[in-house]
């Protein structure tokens, strides 16, 4: 499974690189699939509300009311109907790309299992929501979908088999139709909102809105689609007639031909089998997380920066328990901590100039890679350097693997995330023999730990605590953010060489 994932990851990195060239890293749609899905849901909601104004929830009235929207008021209700359908289809595309991407990028395991697991029932809910939408038109397609759905429900042994009889020979009643309308308009959307809230509940600082240029481009594309190919109904339901040719929406209705060809038993087996496989993926194989961050209260000022910087909301602030003057202290929830080390980099006490002659203890740090160990490694690597332009290269485990890039003039240290690097460590490195520091993170816009790149960039620019001190000569500090694909590894090598050549001679 790991080999397949790694292979697919390299493929998706290549595709995303191509998109970066066209869209830039900031608005690459692959980096905003979740928020794009929310955006499509907004379009579905707004267009759905408008369509509902003209929609009649009765067996006899539904079809004519949809036809009125499509043909008589095509210029607004018709476009809204088309937008409703095509944004729903677009949501399926973004959901599936989002799911595949999270799997290939290894974002689905470890403490991130919760978001993955809660995403799986969301798929079912979205599909059921789409299917009930097609029922409401009550055309020949709706009748086909209703019958095939009833066949599937009747196959379940525990349910007394009678549902299919409701749809034979147009025996459906207004009451049943009202129930479907309720499900599509209220019941399922409310359940979906609840599931989506659960889905994102373990992630902090979520951006629900895609970048404006991307949202505009996606909306205009759907609008153009609605104008060029307006959504239309099939023929109305006719007693004594079976549909011959159906123009299925394959994003939502793909299960039904399977029911016809293989039978409802196989359709259930395949869909539940795929669902179970998806639910098991976080443990195929399980990911062993490193020990979570630990708080050392005697060195913590209670500033709360670690809680603000944590990408997973695993740190919260509570009332001080050690009687110190500070009001709050951080507490770490180990079930949410991915051990990225960003909190360690955000702590003002992670300053290597402190406690120079003893073991450096900081307010919050990773027990398996404390800042004291980082300081000792930095010192030993620097001592081994020689030459005129000595560079310390800090790498990120999820970007280019820098461990093989060391040389006589280049020392390397790999961190779990570039955000783990305290800015004061850069000052320390430059004061202890290096001529320059290059920090290499994940590809721009695609940080494995979400905010590692952003926080590092802001800290070095003096826009976020803890800042890189102004006394540090900025020309001696460089950032470069690339993924571990072959082409970009070479790009890092070239950037490293160019940076070394650009360094001013040390005093």
């Amino acid at each position: 499974m790991d080999a397949v994932r790694k292979f697919c990851n390299s493929l998706i990195l290549s595709v995303e690189l191509w998109f970066n060239k066209g869209f830039s890293n900031r608005i690459n749609p692959f980096y905003h699939l979740g928020s794009l899905t929310f955006f499509f849901f907004w379009i579905v909601l707004v267009s759905g509300i408008y369509v509902f104004i003209f929609f009649e929830t009765s067996v006899a009235g539904a079809y004519p009311s949809v036809e009125y929207m499509t043909h008589d008021q095509w210029w607004l209700a018709g476009i809204m109907r088309s937008l409703h359908r095509y944004a729903s289809d677009a949501a399926v595309i973004s959901i599936f790309l989002h799911m595949f991407r999270e799997f290939f990028r290894d974002h689905h395991r470890g403490v991130r299992w919760f978001s993955w697991i809660t995403g799986v029932p969301t798929l079912w809910l979205v599909v059921i929501l789409g299917i009930t939408g097609y029922w409401l038109v009550w055309d020949q397609l709706a009748q086909y979908v209703a019958l095939a759905t009833a066949e599937m429900v009747d196959w379940i042994p525990l349910i007394p088999s009678a549902m299919v009889f409701n749809f034979l020979d147009n025996q459906i009643t207004d009451r049943f139709f009202t129930l479907m309308a309720f499900l599509h308009l209220l019941g399922l959307p409310v359940a979906l909102v609840f599931l989506l809230w659960t889905h994102v509940s373990r992630i902090s600082q979520i951006d629900f809105n895609p970048p404006r240029p991307l949202a505009t481009g996606a909306f205009l594309t759907l609008l153009l689609l609605s104008l060029l190919k307006p959504a239309v109904s099939h023929a109305p339901v006719q007693a004594g007639h079976s549909p011959m040719v159906l123009n299925l929406d394959w994003f939502y209705l793909n299960i039904y031909p399977l029911v016809d060809v293989l039978g409802p038993g196989w359709a259930w087996s395949i869909s539940t089998g795929v669902t179970l496989l998806l639910l098991m993926l976080p443990w195929l194989p399980a990911k062993k997380e490193k020990p979570s961050a630990e708080v050392n209260l005697e060195h913590c000022s209670g500033c709360g920066q670690c809680a603000r910087d944590c990408p997973y909301g695993s740190i919260s602030m509570r009332r001080r328990t050690d009687g110190k003057k500070a009001e709050f202290e951080p507490t770490v929830n180990p079930t949410l901590c991915t051990a990225c080390g960003i909190c360690s980099g955000s702590c003002v006490s992670s300053n290597p100039f402190r406690m120079a002659n003893t073991t450096l203890k900081t307010g919050i740090e990773m027990p398996w890679f404390p800042v004291d160990t980082l300081r000792r490694e930095v010192k030993s690597r620097l001592e081994a350097l020689s030459g005129e332009r000595r560079v310390m290269l800090f790498g990120c485990e999820h970007g280019v693997d820098v461990t093989t890039m060391g040389s006589g003039e280049v020392a390397v240290i790999s961190l779990p995330c570039s955000g783990m690097l305290p800015p004061s460590m850069i000052d320390f490195v430059l004061k202890n023999g290096a001529d320059g520091v290059l920090v290499s993170g994940c590809r721009d816009g695609d940080c494995y730990h979400r905010f590692g790149n952003t926080w590092t960039e802001m800290r070095l620019a003096g826009e976020r605590e803890p800042n890189l001190l102004k006394r540090v000569e900025r020309a001696r500090v460089e950032e470069f953010r690339v993924s571990d694909s072959a082409g970009e590894r070479e790009a890092l090598n070239q950037r490293l060489e160019a940076f070394r050549r650009s360094l001013p001679p040390s005093a």
Partner: protein, 169 residues
């Protein structure tokens, strides 16, 4: 906004792909539920078959062997017979189906539902059903109808319990 021709080209291709995938898959490829020369038959009704074994009157000896509160004069095994249905088109087999009565003791009414296709045109459609154990393999209900079946026609076969006969609509 794209800043160069290359950016414009890549964005154009990306949006065109997005457009194209939805344009096509939202209604195509067309699904041919029935071929142009086919009609569809649906069997759909609820039916209770006869008991698999006849009730028999218990003898005094049999009654004495039972606990006092269970001494009912008749012994009626609950299990009901399988329902066997055949469809013939112009006296040739079109399809057969067997339905098991539901319930733990298989004693409830079965919901009969099955669908088949048949060629359009003038044909004799025969439906026959056996709902009890019969040694001769015969049928208890038979209905025949000769009609011009048109392509796409939906033929519904029900069963009128009050008249004990099939209804072909």
């Amino acid at each position: 906004m794209p800043r160069s021709l290359r950016e414009f080209g890549i964005q154009f291709i990306a949006y065109a792909m997005f457009f194209g995938v939805i344009f096509y898959l939202s209604s195509a490829p067309a699904y041919h539920y029935l071929k142009p020369d086919q009609a569809e038959v649906k069997l759909a009704f609820k039916h209770t078959s006869l008991r698999e074994q006849e009730c028999h009157k218990r003898t005094d000896e049999e009654l004495q062997k039972l606990p006092p509160n269970m001494r009912r004069p008749q012994d009626c095994p609950r299990k009901r017979a399988l329902i066997y249905i055949e469809l013939l088109l112009d006296d040739r087999f079109l399809a057969t189906r067997t339905f098991r009565p539901p319930g733990l003791s298989q004693d409830m009414a079965a919901h009969i539902y099955a669908k088949f296709t048949l060629p359009a045109g003038r044909h004799k459609l025969t439906v026959r059903m056996r709902d009890r154990v019969r040694a001769d393999g015969g049928f208890d209900y038979v209905e025949e109808v000769m009609r011009d079946w048109i392509p796409g026609q939906g033929i519904l076969i029900g069963f009128d319990e009050s008249k004990d006969r099939f209804v072909i609509e």
